[in-house]
Symmetry: C2
Subunit: 326 residues, 2 copies
Amino acid sequence: MTSTDVARDSGVSRTTVSYVLNDTPGVTISDQTRARVRASAERLGYTPSAAARTLRTGRSDLVLYVLPDWPLGPAVDSLLDHLAGELAERGLSLLVHHQRGGRPLTDLLRVVTPRAVVGFTAFATADRDALRRAGVQVLGTLLDDPGAAGLFTASQRSIGRLQARHLREHGHRVIGYAAATDPRVAHFVELRLEGVRAECAEAGLAAPQVISVDPSLESAVAAVRGWRSADPAATAVAAYNDDVAIAVLAAVRAEGLQAPRDLAVIGVDDGPAAPFTVPPLTTVSQALEVQARHLAGVVVEGLRGGDEEGLPTGDDLIEVVARDSV
Amino acid sequence: MTSTDVARDSGVSRTTVSYVLNDTPGVTISDQTRARVRASAERLGYTPSAAARTLRTGRSDLVLYVLPDWPLGPAVDSLLDHLAGELAERGLSLLVHHQRGGRPLTDLLRVVTPRAVVGFTAFATADRDALRRAGVQVLGTLLDDPGAAGLFTASQRSIGRLQARHLREHGHRVIGYAAATDPRVAHFVELRLEGVRAECAEAGLAAPQVISVDPSLESAVAAVRGWRSADPAATAVAAYNDDVAIAVLAAVRAEGLQAPRDLAVIGVDDGPAAPFTVPPLTTVSQALEVQARHLAGVVVEGLRGGDEEGLPTGDDLIEVVARDSV
DNA sequence: CTGAAAGCGCTTACAG
DNA sequence: CTGAAAGCGCTTACAG
């Protein structure tokens, strides 16, 4: 099923088929011919070969979104959905690549020729350069690595900062930090923790005591004991995310204590379980719908050759959802 | 950066470059020449054009995984990771497409030329046919739609069955069902519910009273009142998933009742919050690691042209994780 | 053992 | 207003 078939079927040349099907501007073709060509294409179920178009034009309508190795949660799905929609309106298709192991990104070029690659996390320098060399546009990253400008999302540091500030505003002077143990997420833990540290330091509080939580009940119980037996004892804990916070909350109950009276807890994500914990979990919400819209704009702007600098960093894209655990 | 550049740089023809870089069997090329070609390719950062290869050979090393519109949870990520790994070992790359709105799948063919498309849910017949016509292999689905054999996963019906059976085995004779309201998930609700109904019918129990839950606390409270005021009153509830179950559990507490004494609750997913609810949630776990391995095998087998029939349906891939809510 | 040549399916100057 | 022809970068019979 090629354009030759359509041409033969509708009694015109392949040139005309191409002009009609691509709505090429600046050519004048009778409405009658156009209709005939479209009808043939439709009837024959013709789809132009992506490989041939890409080879010929040297560019494709494909945008590749590169996702990292670690678990991301449902928020990213809706982000992708939204981005795909925005791109579709501009004739672009979005495909997602789940990065795995250490395999270089350039392996992908053996299989697709994207117009642009958008990274959720930072690219390895070698990958970035190789992609650029192959004529692929490389579009920013989400992480606030030094030197890699955050593309669209709230910075991880500001999430930590916001947690600490909320705790501080509720009178807590000694704050613990519940880190996650999953190594794939270590970088994020570090960035959020930095935010907590910075806020504590600026407010003249002691540095947060960091304890990792599995999350299993045993691990969380050990952590709760750790914070409470420290000197000075922590009265509040900022957790890496809701999952960790939920485990800590369970440990508080298991120890016969009460949140927030004996230990306040704040999470990150505002996941589905957060409103229903005991007590309901105070947490940081990341307004991902808004971020998605923003990301879409940035990507589209970037594709148009615009400047990716000077974009909002998005600190206003996070907020605390106050419930009863603080 | 084309194979011509590599040929010139290493002083051979493009033919030889292709033979060396593809390790084409049956050609004899001196080790010295091979080394020279590889060195050039490496130094020049040469990656063959995916478009040109695909166009010339008529096949690509791309497998497309089509994901549905609705939220899937982290389990699918690990499934994808595993599949990508298995495929990579066979020289195949996996890319994911998040299906959106009603846009036809064939739009994708304007952008990529996959060897095969693997569907998480069933394909629309039109899509399936169009893909096949374009020479793309279409590989099964997960849903147990009539006529669309389940590709790899446990059937949704058996999940519902298993919930009801567990409840029944714990002495419950009147069972309620907590459905989800998200329309994107309606089909799954229906299938799981069918399983519950079937199990109840076979055991001679009344049909389950179905109430939808938001999930918000108000909605869940209304549901709990509904089940308890029914005649006969339900003593146990099978929930569509953990999220719904968690809301129901919160409603039970809000009403001053206790689970499982006043109302037993069983979820589906065994998500991260399940061990930490009050009381800890009994739920159905879907051995997704195992399913992933299985899926990878099926896909690879399918690509090899093998038969996708006669595969395990995977009813042994689910099990209840008994905690304290039943 | 290596190279010249054809051709995959498309788009797009260019000629008529 | 429409068509013949070139050429994108590759692979692969085929000739030497």
